[in-house]
Structure formats: structure tokens, C-alpha cells
């Protein structure tokens, strides 16, 4: 697929989101969450390109969400909270990344999982500070000085998420086509070759890891601003699993995949939860199985193969 048609598709998607959010008001919330998760999944996509699965990126999601929740007490300005949360996620990502990029495959996945679970239990156990499993309600937040609440607040956060999604999507698209992206793919196929070429696989993976942490940070901040309530569940390993799930559901072939996947995931979840109150996980599990068995390229794979055939 050419760069131009992908750009057009992304812009068309953005317009579609705005139209849907206008026509069906309750979809605004769902779409904002979907965009946020898509952002986090973009980072997962980078790591997947290197053949590595992180079962712990919920850590950065929760870290950023709690940063917003705590930071809002001091500085209740969304435009400052958002970058601050992402920056903190990036710094923590760099520190953890220095450690985890030495490991591959199962160990990489498990170390990430372990660290996110450590964070989860810290959030849950230090009740005095975090209110444990009850979580924290976000204090009122402003956007450019005006209160971020009500319908205009919802639109503002949706707009923020959309802008971030387009910007990060474009950046990842460029990064994947750059030597860095090729090197990432090299880690998956034959890491030793990169060494021979004088490229440090660890450094390449670290760059991707920090980028993925920052994007998960943006996602966490948006989620905190949307739900206005943060709980330790954001850091639980099933949330990380969900992100990997969305990556596969959407398809790892394009930067549009994560957003398609996230939208499909959130919509399925809303409908499944409404229709089968106690079995929405079961429905999602079946959907995931179906995708893996019958459409390994994900939703994006289905679309692009049809286009190629036509």
C-alpha cells in the first residue's frame, strides 16, 4: 500500500471518528478510549516488529494515568499534565529498558510482566497514598485555563487523542520505514547479522522500547482524562495482554492496524458486556481465537489483501 493511500485512509478514519462521535454521543467515550489504546498498541507494534512481546506495557499506562491523577492536584492543566505523564513514562521506560533489552522472547515478556505486577501491587497496597483497589478520582482539570468538563470536555479529550494518534501514527510509520525499522525487523530474523553490520541490537531495541513507553504514557494520560478515575487494574497483566491482543486483532502490518483493532476491540467489548454481562471475556477470547486461526493478518490484513486482489 502506498504512503499516500495510507495517509488518505488515516485522514478518512479521523473524519469518520468525528462524524460517529457527533452522531452517536455515547460513542465519544468509547472512541476516545479506543484511540488511547490504539496509541499504546502502536508502541507494542514497534516491539512486535522486533519479534518481542511485552506482557507489561500496562505499567506505563498506569504510571501515566496516576501521574495525571496526582499531578492534577498541583497543576490542573491538561496541556501540561499530558506531556509530563508521557515524559515520566519515557524516563521510566529508559531505566527499565536498559535492563530488559538484554533479554529476548519469553524472558523479555516475563520481565516486563513482573515489573508491571510489582507496580500493580505497589498501587494496590499503599492504601494511604493510592486508596488501593478503589483508585483515585481525578480532581477538576482545565484545558487552556477553561474547565475540562461536560460535553465540551469530552470533545476536547477526543480531539487531543485524535491529534496524538495521527502524529504518533505518522512518526511510527516513518520510523518503521527508516533504518531503525529495518534494524528492528533484523532483530526478529537474525540478530547476529546486525552485530556484524556494526549495529547494536540492544540500542535499536532500547529506542523502540522508550518510544513505546512514551506512547503508552500518552494513552494512560488520555484514559485518565476520559474516565476521570484511575485504578490499579490499569497496571494488571491482563491489561498488557489486552494491548497485545489488539495489536494482533488489528494486524501488525500497518500503523492503522492498532486503531482499527482498538476500535473493534472496544466496540466488541461494549456489545458483549451489554449482551452477555458475565461472559464478555469469553466472547473476546473467541474473537481473538477466530482472528488468529482464520485471519492471521488481523483486520488490516483482511482489508489490504482485498485491495491487492481488486
Amino acid at each position: 500500500m502506498t504512503r499516500r493511500s495510507e495517509t488518505l485512509l488515516a485522514l478518512a478514519g479521523a473524519v469518520l471518528i468525528l462524524v460517529l462521535a457527533y452522531a452517536v454521543p455515547w460513542l465519544r467515550f468509547v472512541l476516545t478510549i479506543a484511540l488511547a489504546k490504539g496509541l499504546a498498541v502502536l508502541g507494542i507494534l514497534l516491539l512486535l516488529r522486533a519479534g518481542q512481546v511485552s506482557f507489561g506495557h500496562a505499567l506505563y499506562l498506569a504510571l501515566a494515568a496516576y501521574t495525571v491523577a496526582f499531578g492534577a492536584v498541583l497543576v490542573p492543566e491538561a496541556l501540561l499534565l499530558l506531556p509530563a505523564a508521557a515524559l515520566l513514562a519515557g524516563i521510566v521506560g529508559l531505566l527499565i529498558g536498559l535492563f530488559v533489552v538484554r533479554y529476548r522472547e519469553i524472558f523479555f515478556g516475563m520481565l516486563n510482566l513482573a515489573l508491571s505486577m510489582v507496580f500493580y501491587s505497589v498501587l494496590e497496597k499503599f492504601y494511604a497514598l493510592t486508596h488501593g483497589a478503589d483508585g483515585i478520582r481525578l480532581p477538576p482539570v482545565t484545558f487552556l485555563g477553561r474547565p475540562l468538563a461536560g460535553e465540551s470536555g469530552e470533545w476536547t479529550v477526543l480531539g487531543l487523542a485524535l491529534v496524538l494518534a495521527l502524529a504518533c501514527g505518522a512518526l511510527v510509520r516513518v520510523a518503521l520505514a527508516s533504518p531503525l525499522g529495518e534494524a528492528l525487523a533484523g532483530i526478529k530474523t537474525r540478530e547476529t547479522r546486525l552485530d556484524f553490520m556494526g549495529v547494536s541490537p540492544k540500542r535499536v531495541l532500547l529506542a523502540a522500547y522508550v518510544a513505546s513507553a512514551v506512547m503508552a504514557g500518552f494513552a494512560g494520560a488520555i484514559i485518565a482524562l476520559t474516565t476521570r478515575h484511575v485504578t490499579p487494574a490499569l497496571s494488571y497483566w491482563t491489561t498488557s495482554g489486552e494491548l497485545v491482543f489488539i495489536a494482533i486483532l488489528g494486524g501488525a502490518g500497518s500503523v492503522i492496524g492498532p486503531f482499527l483493532g482498538a476500535a473493534a476491540y472496544e466496540l466488541t467489548r461494549v456489545y458483549a458486556a451489554a449482551t452477555f454481562a458475565n461472559a464478555w471475556q469469553l466472547v473476546l477470547g473467541l474473537v481473538l481465537l477466530g482472528v488468529i486461526v482464520f485471519a492471521p493478518g488481523g483486520i488490516w490484513g483482511m482489508i489490504s489483501s482485498r485491495r491487492r486482489a481488486a
Partner: protein, 310 residues
């Protein structure tokens, strides 16, 4: 030393608790490790098998008790229930799902087990509900034992003192014997080391895989069944068990049976000491141990570093 004499009972309790806890964790982790060795898939749904084993044992036990069965029957029921779960679910999952995925990307294989986890988790809620299930007949029937510890005497349940560690030790001995000295065991080891070569030697790898998976599933179920009398079963018990046994397996090194026992002991004791000394860190300790081990031995305590493919 003054601290020790004052808190002697605590240390003793932590030791005993840790031992029985390590025994249950070992059962799950060793099954996970066996399955990983042969299938090269980290089975996320392994924790669900643990939960289902516990629930099945509790249901059968409670049903038998309602028919007026003598309390000693509780113990064989635990064993029978886990064999039942292993023999029914093991081959089903392996044949219908995992075998089809054998030649696919490792990421996809991992996600298949994640999907399975989601499905089983909800099925379990549909069957057993969300109310805690308690089946402590075996625990009560065996009564308590006074364990002398220094100058103190600690009353501890005989079930946790003898049955749990006893079954774990027996499992360890049987597995070690079977894998080293029987033909079937050697075939399992052969498939673990090199699937292709094993097939070339005339080993029916598909059959070995199915057998191993069934045994692994039964071990997870047995772990759950054994733990059932000591805890009340609630939704989510599978999810927390699986991350703990991941930690054990990663600490031990992949494919290590005796190593899993040592790691389970290390992590079980570490966790129970945390419960008595610093309860906030209870959940953190297993991962702290794992990270500390992996920092110095990236392949785990007993793992053998794989030579890099060039």
C-alpha cells in the same frame, strides 16, 4: 538475636507457611515448565487449569459430603478431580488448538493461550459463580499438629504440614524418575531437546506432546485441588497463580524440574516471610527474587544458556 527470640513464632510460622505455599506453587510451575519444554509455548491458560482443578475438587468434595461421605474421602477426591480435569481438558486443548498452531509465529501461539485463558476464566465464572467456594473438609479432618520450634510450639494444620509438601515431593521424585529412567520419559526429553531429531529417531512427537500437555494440565489442576482446602476459591485466582508460576519458571530456568522445586521454595518462603514482616511487599517479593536472579543469570538459576543461532 533478640529479635529472633522475640519473634521466633513468626519465623516458624513463616517457614511452615512458605513450605506449604511453595509446594502448591511447585505443582503448577513444574507443569508449566514441562509443557513449555515440549511445546515451546508459555501456556497462559495454565493458571485457569489450576483454578478449574480447585473448583472441580471443591464441587465434587462438597457433593460427596452432602451425600454423607466420610471426611477421609476428601483426599482421594482431590486427586481424582485433578486427574479428571487433566484428562478431559488436556487432550481437548492440545488437539483442537495448540497442535494447529504449531508452525505459527511464537507471538500468535502465546496469544492463543491468552485467548483460551479469557474463555476459561469466564466459563469458570459461569459454572461456579463469583461467590467464594470453600471446601475445607480434608483440612479439618486431619486436624492440627503442634510443631516444636525452639522453645515455642506452633499449632499448624497437618494438611499443610504433611499433605501439601508430601505430594509435591512425591511429584518431584516421580517426574525425575520417569524423565530419567523410563522410555516414555526419555522420549519426552528427546522431544524437548530437539523435536526434529527425535522424530527422525522414530519418536511419535505428536503423541508425546499430547501426553506431556495432559500431564502438565493434570499437575496444574492438582495444584489447584490441593490448595483448595486452604484457601477460598474466588474468580481471579487463576490469573494470580499464573504470574507467580511464570516467575518460578523464569527464576529456575526453562526446562528444569528440580530447579523449579528450588525456585518455588525460594519464592514461596520469600513471599511468606514478607507476609509476616512487611505485608505490603507480599506480592512484590516473588518478582524481586526473579529480577535479582535474572540480573546475574539471564538464563535462570539452573538454565543452560542456549548457543546463538547464526
Amino acid at each position: 538475636m533478640a529479635w529472633l527470640s522475640e519473634n521466633g513464632i513468626l519465623v516458624g510460622l513463616a517457614l511452615l507457611d512458605g513450605l506449604s505455599y511453595a509446594a502448591a506453587v511447585f505443582m503448577v510451575a513444574v507443569g508449566l515448565n514441562l509443557v513449555f519444554g515440549v511445546l515451546r509455548v508459555l501456556n497462559v491458560a495454565h493458571g485457569s487449569l489450576y483454578a478449574i482443578g480447585g473448583y472441580t475438587a471443591a464441587s465434587i468434595g462438597l457433593f460427596a459430603a452432602s451425600l454423607g461421605a466420610p471426611p477421609w474421602l476428601g483426599l482421594p477426591i482431590l486427586l481424582a478431580a485433578s486427574v479428571l480435569v487433566g484428562v478431559v481438558l488436556g487432550p481437548l486443548i492440545e488437539r483442537l488448538l495448540l497442535r494447529r498452531m504449531q508452525d505459527r509465529e511464537p507471538v500468535l501461539q502465546l496469544l492463543v493461550t491468552f485467548a483460551l485463558f479469557m474463555i476459561l476464566e469466564d466459563l469458570q465464572k459461569l459454572v461456579w459463580g463469583v461467590q467464594p467456594v470453600v471446601f475445607d473438609a480434608p483440612l479439618k479432618w486431619l486436624g492440627t499438629v503442634d510443631v516444636p520450634f525452639g522453645t515455642d510450639v506452633i499449632p499448624f494444620t497437618a494438611y499443610q504440614l504433611y499433605v501439601l509438601p508430601g505430594v509435591a515431593l512425591a511429584t518431584l521424585a516421580i517426574l525425575a524418575y520417569v524423565l530419567r529412567y523410563t522410555l516414555t520419559g526419555r522420549m519426552v526429553v528427546a522431544v524437548t531437546v530437539d523435536r526434529e531429531a527425535a522424530r527422525a529417531m522414530g519418536i511419535d512427537a505428536a503423541k508425546v506432546t499430547m501426553l506431556t500437555f495432559t500431564v502438565g494440565a493434570a499437575l496444574a489442576a492438582l495444584g489447584g485441588a490441593l490448595a483448595a482446602p486452604t484457601v477460598s476459591l474466588v474468580p481471579g485466582v487463576g490469573a494470580s497463580t499464573i504470574v507467580l508460576s511464570f516467575a518460578v519458571v523464569a527464576t529456575a530456568g526453562l526446562g528444569q524440574i528440580e530447579g523449579a522445586a528450588v525456585a518455588a521454595l525460594l519464592i514461596g518462603l520469600g513471599r511468606s516471610f514478607a507476609v509476616y514482616v512487611a505485608p505490603e511487599f507480599e506480592v512484590v517479593v516473588p518478582y524481586a527474587i526473579m529480577v535479582a536472579v535474572l540480573l546475574f543469570r539471564p538464563q535462570g538459576l539452573f538454565g543452560v544458556a542456549e548457543t546463538r543461532r547464526i
